[in-house]
């Protein structure tokens, strides 16, 4: 009997060993922790992640980075930003050339180029798109031999019978050439109340007839029952829009009121991408929205990639568009680009990738670990991972640590087109106003709030202290001595050095608050800092830090944390005193930063984005002049004047410009960081063989600790068995 047990025991061990060997052998072929199908290991697929699901991929509505990072690969507005050049340069994308701009007078007569601003009543932008551009394959275009659309007469019953659940369930696909009318169609969609375009109100101020077009569509919709509104197809080709016209198959015009030079930047955004009427006719059929088959989730574009799998709760897959019109990698860039390797693919045909897979990864820790294992091709370095990846060299520069460098990771740092600041409500009786007293109080606070320390402590150095509202790489930003804010910094030994606290205290005393006591009332100066609470782990530390900054100059700070809604409400009605805010630019023009300090955009008075309600007539006049000018010396001089005024008035503690640090794998081609809308997939190349080899090398499974744990568990059972044996013997 004992022999039998022994034999069984040996057999079990043998079986376990064989199983472990089999597992180890299979693991040599492909890592066990590989989250992707083994068949995709050697494919030319780019892997990345997204933190938050996009709300909508409709180009009329999509506006956040979560959305734009996808649709910018799919839709093609008429213009785009040059991939490499800095400051940013606009170039044609689907158009033959940049649009021709004609200025008209009140009688619609063409004005000469040298016409003054006052003479120009309207401007006409004329576009000519390239022939031979085709849409991605899509069921909306599918036609039978008789030229009838397969899927333009659908209803719930047909969809049920055909077992249609997603877009891929449609058997037929088709395409058609891009025409000027598609661009016009999309501009009309901006006014469709169902599209809920965030820029409709703003664009209505410029595009002639857009507001009236919106009213007309509203009226038409109001005649419908509420349930049909969302699904009904409005063929917008039947509704003319005064300021936007099709000239011929490949040419169209946009007519705007007066001048708006910044329109050129909007024309590089998906809001102005083409939408074929067939797509709207297809998606606005009964039964489609119930299945989430809508333009919100299934874009139809002409870009280098098309969306093939959209599960916003899990993954989004983009595949190479077989009908892509072709484009080549730029052959010239900014100074230093060749040395950085950004021109290594110059002249080659785009795109390089066959597919891009984005996985929803909400948590930073697993996201970073998967990058380290080679399962993501690039990763942003968040505050949690900063110390694991980055070290400071003897010159004070940030670089990858030795371990990361040994694995040939590459680091790129880019400045975002945004600014984070501490705002003073200029309508507030204490911190607001334009008197010398108020200016000095704000400037004293500006010196006391040490942004450099904030960047070091809370951002791990991922930011640049702001000297004004305009960030680097935007026209108007000056580096060095000429660019510093002289009210807060001194230039010493080639660096901007924050003024001493003694100077802040002196300013405070001059403002009538010596030692933080109001000289008139004898009461302590207590300021209210309104901030939205997010529940972030470092939130309390940040509030405490802010209190300490004010304590340096003997001001008591009362932190009033509330939900974001309530904070915004206070800002809207002008009851906030001090608050943290930020601005993320739409385009890299100084106008898009300086306009948030223009009086005409005051939040309280005009419902505009000037949250601090700064309204200085001198600044406003210069702004009106600057916004219409091309980038030249004169414009630069005006911008510097405006910055001087704003710095003197100090409506913000200028804060910082955030930086994004990205680490990429060695198998990825160098990717130039951009402050606009993240990675541009069509310019990226990778070496899948190298990736597969390194993944195998980095992820060899280790079994022995598991066997040890199992052994320990078995050992832990021995006292239990002994105790059981004793108990049973005792019972007998």
């Amino acid at each position: 009997m004992k022999l039998m047990i022994l034999k069984d025991y040996r057999l079990i061990i043998k079986s376990c060993f064989l199983m472990a060997s089999a597992l180890a052998l299979s693991a040599c072929e492909q890592p066990l922790n590989d989250p992707y199908p083994h068949t995709d290991a050697d494919k030319n697929i780019y892997y990345s992640s997204f933190i938050e699901a996009p709300k909508s991929l409709d180009p009329a509505r999509a506006y956040t980075i979560n959305e734009l990072q996808f649709i910018m690969q799919i839709y093609e507005p008429p213009l785009q930003y040059h991939y490499l050049k800095r400051p940013y340069v606009i170039e044609p994308l689907t158009t033959v050339a940049l649009p021709t701009i004609t200025h008209l007078d009140g009688a619609d007569q063409v004005l000469p180029e040298e016409a003054s601003n006052e003479e120009i009543v309207s401007s006409v932008y004329t576009f000519e798109i390239k022939p031979g551009i085709y849409y991605q394959p899509h069921p909306a275009f599918a036609q039978n031999e008789a030229g009838q659309y397969y899927y333009h007469q659908l209803n719930e019953k047909i969809l049920e019978e055909e077992d249609i659940k997603t877009l891929t369930d449609f058997e037929h696909e088709g395409t058609r050439e891009l025409i000027a009318e598609d661009y016009v169609y999309q501009i009309k969609r901006l006014a469709d109340p169902r599209a809920q375009s965030p820029i409709f109100g703003f664009m209505s101020e410029y595009i002639i007839g857009l507001e009236a077009h919106g009213k007309l569509l509203n009226k038409q919709l109001a005649e419908d029952e509420s349930q049909q509104q969302r699904t009904r197809f409005f063929d917008l080709r039947q509704y003319p829009l005064e300021g936007v016209k099709v000239l011929d198959k490949y040419r169209y015009q946009i007519k705007i009121k007066g001048q708006y030079p910044q329109l050129i930047y909007w024309l590089a955004m998906p809001f102005f991408a083409p939408i074929p009427w067939e797509a709207e006719a297809f998606y606005h059929q009964p039964g489609m929205s119930v299945r989430n088959i809508t333009l919100d989730w299934y874009p139809v574009g002409t870009g280098a990639f098309m969306l093939t799998d959209n599960n916003p709760n899990s993954r989004i897959v983009l595949a190479r568009n077989p009908n892509f019109h072709g484009e080549n990698y730029p052959t010239e860039g900014a100074p230093g680009d060749r040395e950085e390797g950004f021109l290594g693919l110059a002249g080659q045909e785009l795109p390089f990738l066959d597919e891009a897979v984005y996985i929803l990864e909400k948590e930073a820790i697993p996201r970073w670990n998967k990058f380290l294992q080679g399962y993501y091709d690039a990763s942003i370095i968040s505050a949690d991972q900063f110390d694991q990846a980055i070290q400071v060299d003897s010159q004070g520069n940030l670089q990858l640590n030795k371990e990361m460098l040994a694995r040939e990771f590459k680091l790129t740092a880019g400045v975002d087109l945004s600014v984070f600041f501490l705002g003073f409500n200029m309508l507030d009786p204490i911190v607001g106003g334009y008197s010398e007293r108020a200016q000095k109080l704000r400037r004293a606070i500006s010196i006391a709030v040490d942004d450099e320390e904030y960047i070091d402590v809370f951002l791990n150095g991922r930011g640049i202290p702001a000297q004004g509202p305009i960030p680097p790489q935007v026209f108007g930003y000056l580096s060095g001595k000429d660019g510093i804010n002289p009210y807060v910094y001194d230039w010493q030994d080639g660096h901007a050095v924050r003024k001493p606290i003694a100077e802040a205290k002196a300013l405070l005393a001059e403002a009538g608050y010596a030692n933080g006591i109001n000289s008139q009332t004898g009461e302590s100066l207590i300021l209210n800092y309104d901030v939205s609470t997010t529940g972030a782990p470092d939130e309390k530390a940040r509030f405490d830090w802010m209190r300490k900054q004010f304590e340096k100059i003997d001001i008591q700070l009362n932190v009033r944390s509330s939900l974001a809604n309530r904070l915004f409400e206070k800002i809207l009605n002008g009851s906030a005193q001090l608050f943290s805010w930020s601005w993320l630019a739409d385009y890299p023009d100084p106008e898009n930063f300086l306009f948030i300090l223009a009086g005409e955009n005051s939040t309280v008075k005009e419902d505009g984005p000037n949250r601090v309600n700064y309204d200085n007539p001198e600044y406003n006049a210069l702004f009106a002049q600057m916004r219409l000018m091309p980038d030249n010396e004169e414009r630069l001089a005006i911008i510097q004047q405006m910055l001087d005024i704003a710095r003197r008035d100090a409506p913000w503690v200028w804060g910082y410009y955030p930086q994004t640090f990205t680490v990429t794998q060695s198998w990825l081609s160098p990717s130039k960081p951009s402050g606009l809308w993240g990675v541009r997939l069509k310019y990226i190349d990778l070496d899948p063989q190298k990736r597969a080899q390194l993944r195998r090398q980095w992820n060899i499974p280790i079994f022995w600790p598991v066997l040890i744990i199992l052994g320990l568990l078995i050992i832990a059972f021995i006292p239990v068995i002994i105790q059981y044996w004793r108990k049973e013997r005792g019972a007998r």
Partner: protein
């Protein structure tokens, strides 16, 4: 029994209406329809006209509970509460404020949640009962003492530690399973092994302690003493008689949560990138998507009530003395 079930279902209607009123009141106490519009449209370039358009489009331009401008019954029916609630009772959750079909999303997201929650419950139940039984078998010995200490230790550590620790040890150091992710069909196995293991281990402490308490109460009863006096082996007494009699309180705790299993686990799903329902409500609250919030709260209430009815029915199966009237 049928009469009892019908009566319980009828009782559920006022409960669900009450839950709905509370959901509405709490949500709109914190958010106004203007806030919701801003959350969906963003803050840039969005003026009051755009906000009003959004509210009109999504039906948030009506009064909350009472429409003073309406006539007769319309004073109550032409309100946000009535318009948004009535379809819930037909389980037609409609379109989310973000434009997606809620029923479709729930039907898609419930399976990944279930793929984690169901095995975790079953395996956890077996492990916890076995562990608790072992502690009872060895009660008043150092094994029982150490068992309790281990349970309390496991309970005292945050579940986040098990998740991060599990990912670090099993996936990052040993390279045995993917750190996170999900796939359908058999491919899902490699993704669910680690979350299930973590879920079971994290639940051992609380589960085993609870079952130990139940079993401890049972073993002090007269029938156990009688069985012992008759010479029955203790292991047989425990697994055959005590376990059977302890099923009633165990069922009370288990059956009620079975229907709510597919609601998922927020932290577990978030860290393991499981596209389940766990984070659906939290995402909706963050995005101020009231359509999803009210649908999920309603569904949660319905499932809880359903769980309670199931519990009552299961009592009759476990204990024939109980009759539902």
């Amino acid at each position: 029994m049928l009469t009892y079930i019908i009566r319980r279902i009828l009782y559920a209607i006022p409960v669900l209406i009450g839950v709905n009123i509370i959901t509405f009141s709490l949500f709109f106490l914190v958010n106004t329809p203007d806030d919701m519009a801003r959350a969906h449209l963003g803050e840039k370039y969005v003026d009051q006209a755009a906000i009003d358009r959004w509210k009109r489009q999504y039906g948030y331009d009506q009064p909350l509970f009472y429409n003073a401008e309406g006539e007769h019954i319309n004073r109550f029916t032409q309100t946000l509460f009535f318009q948004k609630s009535i379809k819930l009772f037909a389980f037609d959750f409609g379109i989310s404020d973000g434009g997606r079909n809620i029923n479709y999303d729930i039907s898609q997201r419930m399976w990944p949640s279930l793929a984690i929650a169901l095995p975790t419950l079953i395996i956890g139940l077996l492990v916890n009962i076995t562990f608790a039984m072992s502690m009872i078998f060895f009660r008043h010995t150092y094994i029982d003492l150490w068992g309790v200490i281990i349970c309390i230790s496991i309970m005292s550590i945050s579940s986040l530690f098990y998740i991060i620790g599990g990912q670090y040890l099993i996936s990052k150091v040993l390279h045995l399973t993917p750190i996170s992710g999900y796939d359908t069909g058999w491919q899902s196995i490699k993704f669910v092994v680690l979350p299930i293991t973590v879920g079971v281990i994290a639940g051992i402490g609380a589960g085993s302690r609870w079952y130990r308490t139940i079993f401890l109460e049972e073993v002090s009863r007269d029938y156990v003493r009688t069985a012992k006096a008759k010479g029955l082996a203790e292991i047989k007494i425990l697994f055959k008689h005590v376990l059977k009699n302890a099923m009633l309180p165990i069922l009370t705790g288990i059956v009620v949560i079975i229907p709510t299993l597919f609601m998922g686990s927020l932290i577990l799903e978030s860290f393991f990138a499981i596209p389940g329902l766990g984070s659906y409500v939290i995402e909706a609250i963050n995005q101020q998507d009231f359509a999803i919030v009210r649908a999920m709260v309603f569904l949660g209430s319905v499932l809880y009530i359903f769980g309670l009815i199931l519990t009552d029915i299961s009592y009759t199966l476990v204990d024939p003395r109980i009759r539902l009237q």
